[in-house]
């Protein structure tokens, strides 16, 4: 459990997924990918880790993932095999509502 900060980058311990925190809840939150807690970018990945069978939905490059209350938003900056979850609940794909191009 840790308090997240917008702008922080994190990586999966068990697949190639990388994310950036776009919005973070005030309270501590535990985020997992492929069933394993996310790591700081500088951390070494433990060897032999594998994506859990119940968390293998995968992540898609450039997609935004949100929790049910909408106060947590992660941007996938590198795709992978694991699925993202916060405090045990799977994160959903945020529906993209592109703004009109302005520059």
């Amino acid at each position: 459990m840790a308090q997240l900060k917008a702008g922080t980058r994190l990586k999966s311990a068990v697949c190639t997924t990388e994310v950036m925190v776009i919005a973070a809840p005030k309270d501590d939150v535990s985020i997992t990918c492929g069933g394993a807690p996310l790591l700081a970018m500088a951390d070494a990945k433990p060897e032999g880790g594998a994506v859990a069978a119940d968390a293998n939905g995968g992540t898609l490059l450039g997609k935004r993932y949100v929790n049910a209350s909408g106060d947590l938003e992660l941007l996938c900056t590198k795709a992978g095999q694991g699925a993202l979850a916060a405090n045990g609940a799977a994160l959903g794909l945020k529906e993209a509502k592109p703004l009109p191009s302005s520059d």
Binding site: L61, S101, S102, D103
Partner: protein, 499 residues
């Protein structure tokens, strides 16, 4: 956070797509990524602490922007219209630097201390012949990404500081990754030293929309390039659109069926120009964007739906939104405050304040003017209606104070522009013994049309309070604008004072 993240994602997601086209030459996202990495090593090896590009819109601009971010050096796009003396003064301020410029300029800059000057061609050769190398850019969100010098019509130009976090937040807040279709292309005609020119590169790369560069703007070259490259998107400042609609004259349409979206901003758009443009580009969605250099470009948008709703409405309050700059982006907050900083309610006029991750508000060596509450005073006057549409009323510094009464030049200019004989006008305050400041107007008449001073005074008096009537009116051939279409009010005031 680093702008390189955006390009890395684009190269990884759709690396074979064309990222940027200049004349006959194009780079894919992967090639742009590789060139950035290769050029980053050249910049680091030069010992430079900043990278400058003194060039028209060329491939050296996007390559240089991303290479600078990769190398961890601020990118400084310089105005190629400055005189040799002015350029030299700026180069002295950013030394030691690595400068890319047109071949004709290299010799004249060779003597500037601690400055490595290379031609655009040599830079691009070095960038495209090497390999990218390992991604080793800094993740520090506080690194400076871009330094943009203001035009500095009085005193030395100031350098606006845009950090990685401001620009990357702007993109994440306003653009969806890879949202552009494969056939989409945007015509970038604003110069690289304008914030919109920088923002266009980052937005287009992240959305996957091909950039078509127009090295220097003319109405002819804009239309020719747009048709040849079948562009789907474009951003123009008001003077550009005015010249384009002038060139097209009475034509039935601009014959640019590929154009889906035309965005405009960077100054006040005359209503006559936008009305002509709506007729000439019948297939295009119109978006009005409001932003400042200090806010990493756009903070409010009047989108295509807003345009349509305003045009279709019988309610004058809704119709009026056509002259608004729309509503704030979801990622920023806008407030209107009085001169004591108190937040004002709907339809009350004050100063526009903005907060959000993309807001810098910082000038090099002067710190940030963002308050402890996170809000930045834009120095733009304005108001918001009940639905949150923002109406601008010009720069606070241009407000005329006549006998203790505040009046905005824009209000008087709008009335003068409605007069049938007037093509263009500027209203400024001039010193007055009696009133402190008096209202003066400079007008340009339409070809073959005439108006007398008395006519125009009566016209303003008919529409506004009598205190708004210009005490002094002069007829000029043209008004002074800078090359991106900003009216140079200081120059108008100076000329009036001198005359």
């Amino acid at each position: 956070m680093n702008l390189m993240m955006l390009l890395e994602m684009a190269a990884s997601g759709f690396g074979d797509r064309v990222a940027v086209t200049n004349g006959a030459v194009s780079l894919t996202y992967q090639q742009l990524f590789d060139a950035a990495g290769s050029a980053a090593r050249v910049i680091r090896a030069s010992g430079a602490e900043r990278m400058a590009v003194l060039d028209v819109s060329s491939l050296a601009v996007p390559v240089g922007l991303f290479a600078s971010s990769w190398a961890g050096r601020p990118f400084v796009p310089l105005n190629y219209r400055l005189t040799a003396d002015e350029v030299e003064k700026l180069l002295e301020r950013i030394a030691p630097s690595y400068v890319v410029t047109e071949s004709g300029r290299v010799a004249s800059l060779a003597h500037v201390a601690s400055t490595s000057v290379v031609t655009r061609e040599a830079f691009l050769d070095a960038a495209t012949s090497g390999t990218a190398g390992e991604p080793d850019w800094s993740a520090d969100a506080d690194d400076i990404a871009i330094l943009l010098f203001t035009s500095g019509t009085t005193g030395a130009p100031k350098a606006a500081v845009l950090r990685q976090k401001h620009l990357v937040s702007y993109i994440f807040g306003s653009v969806e990754f890879g949202a552009a279709g494969e056939d989409e292309a945007t015509l970038v005609s604003v110069p690289p030293y304008h914030i919109a020119g920088m923002a266009a590169i980052a937005s287009s790369v992240y959305s996957g929309r091909r950039i078509v560069q127009l090295p220097t703007f003319s109405a002819e070259s804009w239309l020719e390039t747009a048709r040849r490259e079948k562009v789907t998107h474009a951003f123009v400042v008001p003077t550009m659109l005015a010249r384009i609609v002038d060139l097209l004259g009475d034509a039935a349409s601009a014959e640019l069926p590929s154009l889906e979206a035309l965005a405009y901003g960077g100054g006040k758009m005359p209503q006559s120009v936008i009305e002509k443009a709506l007729r000439l580009f019948p297939g295009a969605d119109f978006t009005n964007a409001y932003g400042l250099t200090e806010t990493s470009s756009t903070i409010a948008i009047l989108g295509p739906e807003d345009h349509r709703a305003a045009i279709a409405s019988d309610d004058p309050a809704v119709r009026r939104r056509l002259i608004s700059v729309g509503r704030p982006l979801p990622s920023v907050e806008v407030q209107i405050r009085d001169e004591n900083g108190a937040v004002l309610g709907p339809n009350q006029r004050g100063e526009v304040y903005v907060s959000g991750e993309q807001v810098s508000g910082e000038y090099l060596g002067r710190g940030s003017s963002v308050g402890s509450d996170g809000f930045f005073p834009t120095r733009d006057g304005g108001s918001m209606d009940d639905a949150g549409y923002l109406f601008l009323e010009g720069r606070i510094d241009d407000i005329i104070v006549r006998g203790g009464e505040n009046m905005s030049p824009g209000e008087i200019e709008d009335v003068l522009l409605e007069h049938e004989a007037i093509a263009d006008c500027a209203v400024v305050g001039v010193p007055s013994e009696q009133w402190g400041e008096a209202v003066a107007a400079v007008v340009v008449t339409k070809p073959g049309q005439k108006a007398s001073i008395e006519d125009l005074q009566a016209w303003v008096k008919k529409h506004l309070r009598s205190s708004r009537t210009p005490e002094r009116i002069e007829f000029w051939e043209s008004l002074p604008y800078n090359e991106t279409g900003k009216l140079l009010r200081r120059q108008v005031r100076a000329q009036l004072a001198g005359g």
